[in-house]
Structure formats: C-alpha cells, structure tokens
C-alpha cells in the first residue's frame, strides 16, 4: 500500500477529477424531531453537498448494488416462443465517496455470497465492478459496535481511504487508478510526524467506542440457547416489518416475481429484496409456512448473521453498523438481543 498526504482544501480537486462519473456520497437529509441532522447516501451533484464528516447514514448503500426492486430481464412474447432480453442495469462507473469501514466491509462480505460461488450474480457483479470506492474515517457513534465484529478497519475492497489529520488528509492508496488520481493532486509522501499523527487519530477513535457485543463462543451459545425464552420476548416486540433487513448493508435475501404486461405481448422478471422477518418468508408452494411465528423468524435472522455465516465463512455477516437497531421502532438492537441470549442484561422486553 502507498500513502500520501494532501491539504484538506484540495479535496475539491479530487472531487472535480472524479466528477465525470456518477458520484454517490453521504448527504444531508434534513433533521429529525429532536433537531438532529439526518444523512443518507445519494447521488451528489455538487461538492458542497458532500458531507464527509457524517456520523452515520440511515440506509446503507446497498440499493446501489442490490436495488430493492430490479428488473432482471424482459421478454417479447411471440406466437411460438419468446425473445429474452437481459440487462444488468449497470451503465456508468460510479464513485462512492466517503464510505466508512463498516460499509466497505459489508460489500466485501456480500462479494463472498454473491460473486464468490459457483453461480455468481451477474447483476450484482456488474455494478460492483463499476465502483470506485473512497473510504473515510469515522467517529464511532453510541450505537456502533463494528469493533466487536472486527470490521472497524478495512484491509481491502477500496481504492482510496482518507483519514482526517486536522489540516490534511492521510490517503491510503489501494489501486493503480487511485494512485493516478491522487498523483494529479498536489500531494506528497507522509512525514514521520504524520505517521505518528495517523496512529494517534486511530487510537483516539478506538477510545470512542462505547457499544460492545460479546462474540466469544457466540455460535455455540446460539446453538445452546435455541429454545431460550428470550427469543419469544423479542418476538412479541417485533413488528415483522422488514425494516432491519432493508437498512442492513449485508441482508441480500430476495424473491422473484414474473409479470405479463397488460397488452400480453411482453413480460418481465423482477427481483424484490425480501426480509426473513416477513410473515411469508418461509411459506412454500402448497401454502405451508415453516416459520409462522414472529419470534422464530427473528431468531433465524440472528442465526444467519451470527452463526450460519460464521460457520461458512469464519466471519459474521453483521458489520456492527447498528442501523437495524437505530431504525427499529420496537427498539430491538443487536447488542441487547445478543446480551439477552447470553443471559446478560435482563430487563429488555
């Protein structure tokens, strides 16, 4: 990896170089009822809109690689057959400007499922290959537990990662194209004092984490506590609304729907992201529902994230971004659920 340092006021130059592409980044989305600012990822059309020092976004950037609804193919229906048209819906390279480590790690995890197997998902891969990712250091929020999940720093899956050193940015360069862009800025190699400052900033950030999840032996504990009463307690609170899966950067379950156009001459196949908490998630042909109870569905969501995925990939599918807990109207949060399953915490439901 190469490192460079550039003055903060040169960030706009980097933006301008990249702005021939689509740029997606954190931007302001108004204020909540307590007057706190809200942020979300969206297309940025002006450098001034880019809020690089955002605390967290409401949604992950999943919609840009796994849209909630995506037409996979269309059909022209003919008398004796049909013509199929496939479109991966990836037309232009997109720059993702200012992703936190958790969100880059989330993409790396999605890659394992969606591109790292025998049948890669071409719709996801096409968008994924068209990404230029600029990471940005973050300030841990009270709901962030990425440190517990081992996703508080990121080793790969980005082109450039920026850390704020005060009056300059410390850039970790991870790709040749990133090096080319950075080289066209006024930049230089970091001095020894900046190495020092970089490590100080990292340590200061570490000290800000307040939210933790104990993952020690978690796969075994989840197996042991499969019948635990706490699942039913959380199940009673759960609205089965799918909000957690929607804001989650790594939930990828989907359903496929086929529709014939009104004119009966065309048809389409659409993918809808789904959630394992929705009532008919485990309903099969013939009508049987394997998980009609809310607590079962909630439990299996945790089992997939914190047990099944760990057994398959030796890492959790959760990156600890805390979005699910922040968005859950019923206040179901990962740290509290895991603590309750471990027999800690007590008064939660």
């Amino acid at each position: 990896m190469l490192f460079r340092v550039f003055a903060k006021d040169h960030l706009i130059n980097l933006y301008d170089i990249l702005a021939v592409n689509h740029i997606v980044g954190p931007m302001s989305k108004g204020f909540d009822r307590h007057g706190a600012p809200l942020y979300d990822f969206d297309f940025i059309y002006d450098f001034a809109e880019l809020q690089l020092h955002y605390p967290a976004t409401i949604h992950s950037l999943k919609r840009f690689v796994l849209p909630p609804r995506e037409t996979l193919c269309t059909f022209d229906l003919q008398k004796d057959g049909w013509q199929k048209h496939v479109d991966y819906n990836a037309y232009k390279p997109t720059v993702y400007f200012g992703l936190h480590a958790c969100d880059i790690n989330a993409l790396n995890k999605l890659d394992k499922v969606l591109t790292g197997n025998v049948y890669p998902d071409p719709y996801y891969a096409a968008k994924r290959k068209n990404m230029f990712i600029i990471g940005a250091g973050c300030t841990p929020q009270p709901f962030c537990f990425c440190k517990s999940m081992g996703t508080d720093s990121v080793l790969h899956g980005f082109d450039l990662f920026l850390t704020d050193l005060g009056d300059s940015y410390f850039a970790e360069i991870h790709s040749a194209r990133a090096f080319a862009f950075i080289s066209s800025l006024e930049c230089r190699e970091p001095r020894q004092s900046e190495h020092q400052r970089f490590m100080e900033v990292a340590q200061e950030r570490m000290n800000l984490f307040t939210c933790h999840v104990d993952t020690t032996d978690l796969t075994k504990i989840l197996d042991l506590e499969f019948q635990a009463e706490v699942w039913r307690e959380w199940g009673r609170k759960c609205l089965s609304c799918g909000t957690c899966a929607n804001v989650c950067p790594t939930c990828y379950c989907y359903g496929i729907e086929e529709n014939v156009d009104l004119g009966l001459q065309h048809a389409s196949k659409t993918r809808h992201l789904y959630s394992c908490n929705l009532i008919d998630f485990a309903q099969v042909a013939g009508g049987h529902n394997f998980r009609p109870e809310s607590h079962d569905r909630l439990k299996y969501r945790y089992y997939h994230k914190h047990r099944g995925f760990v057994e398959a990939f030796e890492e959790s599918l959760c990156v600890g971004c805390g979005r699910c807990g922040q968005s859950c109207l019923a206040n179901i949060t990962v740290p509290e659920v895991i603590a309750s399953v471990r027999g800690e915490g007590g008064d939660h439901a």
């Binding site: 909540d32 609304c241 929705l278 809310s294």
Partner: protein, 265 residues
C-alpha cells in the same frame, strides 16, 4: 370497444365479460381505472365491458366478473348486491369501502344512528343504516385494497385473472416498501403512522409524501397492533390519535374493539 382478438404465446385468450358497479362511495376507484390513458386501451381490450356507468351508457346483465366499489348502507343496496352475486362468477370488492366499509363506516362509531341521521339530514331523513362491507352480505372472491385503489395493481390483477394465473398480495406491512423507497421514517420526523401494521402494496404512497399512513389497505397479516400502540405512546401520541387512524377506513375493526376497552386519553 373493438373486439380485437387477444393471444398469449399464440394461444387465444378469452375475454371475460366484466361489469362495474358502485354502491355508497365517491366513485374515485372507478375513476382511477379510467385515469391511466397510456394503458387504458390495453386494459379495456382484455375485458368485454358490459356495464360501466362512469364510462359508457350501454348495459347488460350478463357478465363473468363484477367489480364493485362502495359499501352497503341501504337495504336496496344489499338486495342489488345479492343479484349481482347470483350473476357473476367472480365478485371483486374494489377499494376500502367495498373491502372494509371505508370512510363511510366512520358513522358506525356513533351508538345512536337515529341521532346522527337527524343531525345530518334534519327532517328529510333518508333510508340509511349501519355501513357494511360487501363480505358481510355476500361471499367475495377477490379484494383489491386501497383508498383509492392503485391502477397498476388492478391491471396486474386483471391480467392474471384473464391468464388464469394466481393472484397474490403483499402480506407484510407498508414499512417494507417505505424503506425500499429510502424515505425517512415519519416517526423520526414526529408524525404518527400506521405503516408498521398496514398491508403493503401501495408503494408507501402517503409516507413517501410525508403523510403518515392511515391504514386504508387494512391490516397486514398478523399485525403487531399492541407494539405499535406502545410505539405511539413512546413518541408522544395518545390512544385517541391511534384510534382515529385505525377507525378511519374500517380495516382494523377487530383490533379497535379491544383497544377501546383499554384505551387511555
């Protein structure tokens, strides 16, 4: 309307004879059907329409599918509905009024309907009674939810009906579609919303326009009304505010009774 022969993958498609009727309603749902000019010709050519007061003058009593808008508020409406039922193979309740009673059923909140009648109509009383959904009088084969119905959904239902495909609805709440649209949660903005318990399918039409859901599509399957009540309290809303919304379209009638029993100001 020209009777152009329709085929699907080379197979001729039978055009069902369809009739549209309205009982107590604003007729807005039928208007929705006529609204989308871009697809209107295709829509009309899937069906042989024999009765549609809002769109044509000819009438016939021979039809396969009856699309019915509105709730039942008079005895003669109930009788008329039974006749339609006896003639139609498939009876479709269209919109919140037909499915749940709709806004009309708000008058059922009053214990003394005679008093209401007097307040509204004075000395010129008309024949009107407790508002009922169609299913309280006759068996209903298909319900299309919403106030008003969503044209795209009706088009989908009709296409699948004509092709003999199964018809399915979302069973999950509006939140799912609201999040898919990347809206900011209205509770975060300080507004009440029935999205967490209301059946989706509207694409979160109202929340996307920053209007909290009023539950026009009725309950999602197994809605967690008790939890929403707690959420409303936590966000500073009263049981009365929750009840106002739950009672508005009639879809939540079974939950309203229980809630009223335990409601606090």
């Amino acid at each position: 309307m020209t009777a152009k022969e329709r085929t699907y993958l080379g197979v001729p498609v039978k055009k069902p004879r369809a009739a549209f009727f309205e009982f107590t309603s604003c007729e807005g749902c039928q208007l929705q059907l006529l609204n989308n000019e871009a697809s209107l010709v295709d829509f009309l050519s899937l069906l042989t329409i024999v009765n549609f007061r809002e769109a044509m003058t000819e009438q016939s009593d021979e039809y396969d599918i009856a699309f019915i808008e509105g709730s039942i508020t008079r005895d003669d409406e109930a009788e008329q509905l039974k006749i339609i039922r006896s003639r139609a193979q498939t009876l479709v309740a269209m919109g919140s009024c037909a499915c749940f009673g709709g806004v009309n059923q708000l008058k059922n909140r009053f214990n003394d309907l005679a008093w209401v009648k007097e307040q509204v109509y004075g000395s010129q009383a008309i024949d009107t009674r407790e508002v009922l959904p169609l299913s309280a009088i006759v068996p209903v084969d298909l319900e299309i939810y919403g106030c008003p119905i969503k044209k795209e959904e009706v088009e989908k239902v009709v296409t699948n009906l004509v092709l003999g495909k199964s018809i399915d609805y979302p069973r999950y709440p509006v939140c799912m579609e609201c999040k898919a649209n990347h809206n900011v949660c209205l509770f975060d903005l300080g507004q009440p919303c029935l999205g967490p318990i209301t059946r989706a399918g509207c694409d979160a039409w109202c929340p996307a326009n920053r209007l909290g859901c009023w539950g026009c599509r009725g309950p999602a399957e197994k809605p967690n009304v008790g939890q929403l009540r707690q959420i409303m309290h936590e966000h500073g809303f009263t049981d009365e505010q929750l009840l106002d919304r739950l009672e508005c379209f009639g879809g939540f009638a079974q939950y309203v009774t229980e809630l009223k029993r335990t409601a606090k100001g």
